[in-house]
Amino acid sequence: MGDSSGPFYRLSLAELSRGLNRGDFTASEITSALLQRIHDHQALNAFITIVEDEAMAAAEAADAARDAGNAGVLCGLPIVHKDLFCTAGVRTTCGSRMLDNFVSPYDATVVERMARAGAVMLGKTNMDEFAMGSSSETSYYGPVINPWGLDRSPGGSSGGSAAAVAARLVPAATGTDTGGSIRQPAALTGTTGIKPTYGRVSRFGMIAFASSLDQAGVITRSAEDAAMLLSVMAGFDERDSTSVDHPVPDYQAALSAPLNGLRVGIVKQHFDDGLDEQCAARVKEALAVLQHQGASLVEVDLPHLDLSVPTYYVVAPAECSSNMSRFDGVRFGHRAENIGDLLDLYCRSRAEVFGAEVKRRIMTGAYVLSAGYYDAYYLKAQKVRQLISQDFKNAFATVDVIAGPTAPTGAFAIGEKTNDPITMYLNDIYTIGANLAGLPGISVPCGFSDRLPVGLQLVGPHFAESAVLNCAHQYQRVTDWHKCCPEDFT
């Protein structure tokens, strides 16, 4: 298998799992090799924190558990978490100077479940500050670099997770998706990223951005690996009041259904102006593959699609402004020096460390919720959200999944959109609808546009993760796009 540090990074989660089960190598060997690789590629800025000692100790414990016959389903497999998931004893920054020194007293449920299944955490990944961004440029810790083009953004907000998986630093990473923050970076980095149904995975211990939209998921190299992780992450959690008590199917077992008879919805609005020509061509080729595999393509209408971004930029900032009020400079986080009264303490502690985009969203939210504007903006947006959700319900009366582009273009240049918030916001035009309606969605690589990856998005009805994962997996059985690796990282 080549030299000792060579082979591991090329293996998928499923391959690593099989190798561990066969006794070909140990968790300690994998962990040590991947930690070295993470160090070698720190220029990508994919990580905020790397946890070497903890990782090596967890790997040794995993090896011991396996020797004792107590291997969990993820025993010894490497994982990294977006730095938005609270990790007891390891700092959690959420990409913000506000939480530069914050150490959570508890683990997020996602972190706890993965650890209990034996996964070995190697570090915390970089992200847009408080997940507010689509490019991983708003991080206090600097922008993340896309391994497919060193002047390119990996997308965001889970850009560190996506870049780490794309560069093969790790086989899998967690992410969160409020408006596309798993699927868009997956598309821009040629990785596979799934956002489950709202309520499918516990939000406990996720630092909240927009509570009616946030959902945890994973970025991996294949749908098969995503299914393995989702089986561990998903499920009811009484500590999350919006967690849904709904049976968790065996997602891996669901990956064997042929696509014969699958009705795939094509949204006519997806191919309107704004979609890059090459991206459109790649997505249409992918649709032809699905059709060749037995799926039937059915045109569906999402008439309110163009209003999804404006709806999101009322609802998400409104919820953000409420959630962000917890950062008061009193109980945790940054506190300004030489303060006057309590109001001065609040205003300056927050203003000193929040970045420009976070401040914009807090203020947008405060505005749309303020007296005199609530009905015109917040209430109106909630009504349009209902219309958008109804559009999806109508579509799913005739199709099993909806397929289309994940993002309008390939990876854009770092700095290209930072001065114009609206242009940045429009990058999420195809992904936001699934968040507003609470639907599961996955992005899988389907080719290249100017040597940069393009993503195919598949969206299903509530709790149709199995169908979405299976469709993605069947596509990946007959295509190699998900196996492509950026030149300097092979």
Binding site: G199, T242, P310, G333, Y367, L387
Partner: protein, 95 residues
């Protein structure tokens, strides 16, 4: 519609954020562009449409009123900027 400086300062106060004089023009311009952008919503016909607050159309779950979490004050206060004898310190609020 666009916002003016006075409105932005009022919003900043509601949001408990101070805005420096040298950044106010940029904040006004960008917030105005966001408000103008979301104004598209006014084109949608929403008479008789119920506002949607939650994607799953579910009620808030109730739980048994039992103690499930134990407060470890010392550990929690390790993240606090200023504490004294178990209290969080803030500027004087009562004269």
């Amino acid at each position: 519609m666009s916002l003016d400086k006075q409105q932005v300062n009022h919003i900043a106060m509601l949001a408990r954020l101070s805005v420096d004089d040298d950044e106010i023009d940029d904040v006004v311009a960008k917030l105005s562009s966001i408000v103008a952008f979301v104004d598209q919503l006014q084109t949608a016909a929403t008479d008789d449409v119920l506002p949607m607050a939650h994607p799953m159309e579910r009620c808030q779950r109730l739980r048994v009123d039992a103690v499930t979490e134990i407060i470890d004050r010392d550990r929690f206060q390790k993240n606090a900027p200023q504490v004294s004898n178990g209290f969080y310190l803030v500027p004087k609020v009562i004269e």
